[in-house]
Symmetry: C2
Amino acid sequence: MSILEKPTTIKEIAKLLNISASTVSRALHDHPSIGLTTRQKVKKLASDLNYEPNQNAIFFQKGKTYIIGVILPELSESFFSSAISAIEESAYKKNYSVLLAQSHDDVKKEIELVEKMNHRVDGLLISLAKNTSSFEHFEKLNRYDIPVVFFDRIPPLSNVHSVACNMESGTIDAVSYLLKKGHRTIGMINGPNTLIATAERKEGYIKSMIKNRLKYDPSLIVNCDLTQAGTEQALEGLLAHKRNITAIVTFNDYVALFAIKKSRTMGLVVVPEFVSFANLPLIHYMDHIPVASVEQFPYLQGQRATDILLDLLANKDRTAANKGAFYNIVIDSQLVENNLK
Amino acid sequence: MSILEKPTTIKEIAKLLNISASTVSRALHDHPSIGLTTRQKVKKLASDLNYEPNQNAIFFQKGKTYIIGVILPELSESFFSSAISAIEESAYKKNYSVLLAQSHDDVKKEIELVEKMNHRVDGLLISLAKNTSSFEHFEKLNRYDIPVVFFDRIPPLSNVHSVACNMESGTIDAVSYLLKKGHRTIGMINGPNTLIATAERKEGYIKSMIKNRLKYDPSLIVNCDLTQAGTEQALEGLLAHKRNITAIVTFNDYVALFAIKKSRTMGLVVVPEFVSFANLPLIHYMDHIPVASVEQFPYLQGQRATDILLDLLANKDRTAANKGAFYNIVIDSQLVENNLK
DNA sequence: CTGTTAGCGCGTTCAA
DNA sequence: TTGAACGCGCTAACAG
């Protein structure tokens, strides 16, 4: 291993060549007003010395970092890792780098991270922690003109940029799909009531019933905590219903898989059909899976959110004048039938 | 939305208070030689003005970034997203941030990314692209004393820091496990020969046979390109073997799932048992899965690699003297029986 | 206890 | 065609 050197600076090159630092700088940038010979000498020496501009210094004096910060609840969840992949991809194309952090669904950590990201990033992409219910920690950011785009888990505010998936429409489709297949008594294993997504699904269920001119029976919707035990309990509750439930919409794929597994061990005469919300790409490797899933497009959401953020960054001045106009992208969730073989 | 302000600087506070910038700086840092009243005045004004130190400026003048760069092949793969989660976690604890990029298994992009990360990060964590076979692009880094730790996909060099999982030992265990279960003819669907991991598995297979005093039959090991079609072809090859193969070790979980699915549709008298290498956390949701998996501990690998990197960063001087000593952590892969119900 | 000066590496006036 | 000087925001060495 070689002895460690300090990175070459413009100043050193200047001294070695007995010229000024600014000349070196200009030569390296092919500034038109630099003599050919000087330019060549400079470039030669620079490459001999393995000169590389100190990005940090440049960004610092420019007041830009070319970094976008990304704060997500959990990096190891496949939904978010898909999103990250898209974000990195889009950012890379526009020469931005990605500074990544996870809140572990903890507001306190989220606040800390926002704090920490400030002054280190040009803009921020955020998917909120589950229990984030106040949003002051973001205000400072836009006071300093650091644009923020929320995605998927977005705050219920109108004066923010956001990209999210409309669960209601997907749920409407899911229920309609089951009705069309002949099911008349459709259950729903929903999530905890603290989540917006839970409300959206419920709303979708109700609207779908109305749309199809059927009576809405609230007892067909049960909540669960999304754990395996909670799911099994919820399932048993539904199956004990006085009406015969033949199909069930579940909050997500995990819940669906738990429920499917359970229902197949219960010795039922008819195992109900399941529709869920797509969280797991791997569902296609499995044998017993939901007949259809509502796709939430994590990759697309990440992509759109990043594009918006980069757009805001590219047009900061114009945007400043434009205060009051916000991107609020809603991607329609989409029901896809799963390939059962 | 509020009008955009420029972030407050130390200088502004100084001017407003008619004191010098260094006094302000010291007051904010609770420097012992600052009068109580000045300190209080400064802190009061600072908080009134929402002063926050410009991290970028600090890092710049310290010549440190407190950022570690992470370059991985594919962020959306569950193996790597687990690793990232661990990396972020460990880095966060030591007040480092994570700059993330993916090479998409393309050496050219990998080289570009290393270039780009240089001067922006204090250290680098890398899992190599599949086709990376030369390593000059990393040399510059250690010349500039930017420590690099490779993990999981590591270069075949002795003078680098690395963390990896020993596939050989896991494979030995896997084969022994199957032998102990009574299988006598064990096939292997291995990966492409370009991968080190393929050789390791093969070596493990052979050693296990030797260890168990059995003859090694090379025709029981077939390669495949890891696609579904390739896997099915490899499987058919094995099942057509003149000897009756009753158990198969596969290169990874994807291959195993493809093979299991295929073998269950072939109308075999006896479906072989499978052992694979754990890549998918979700395997526990599935019905037909390998009887055992060789765990590669992505989370642990990420954690160890990060710890090493942070250690190198914390002891840069000592390390410099220590040139020639390298961390080469080998985590023993471990066979875990899967919970079949 | 506090102010002055200098410098981190670079780009960019302003002058020559 | 080039150089000198300045500043980005902050810290630290040196003076008082």
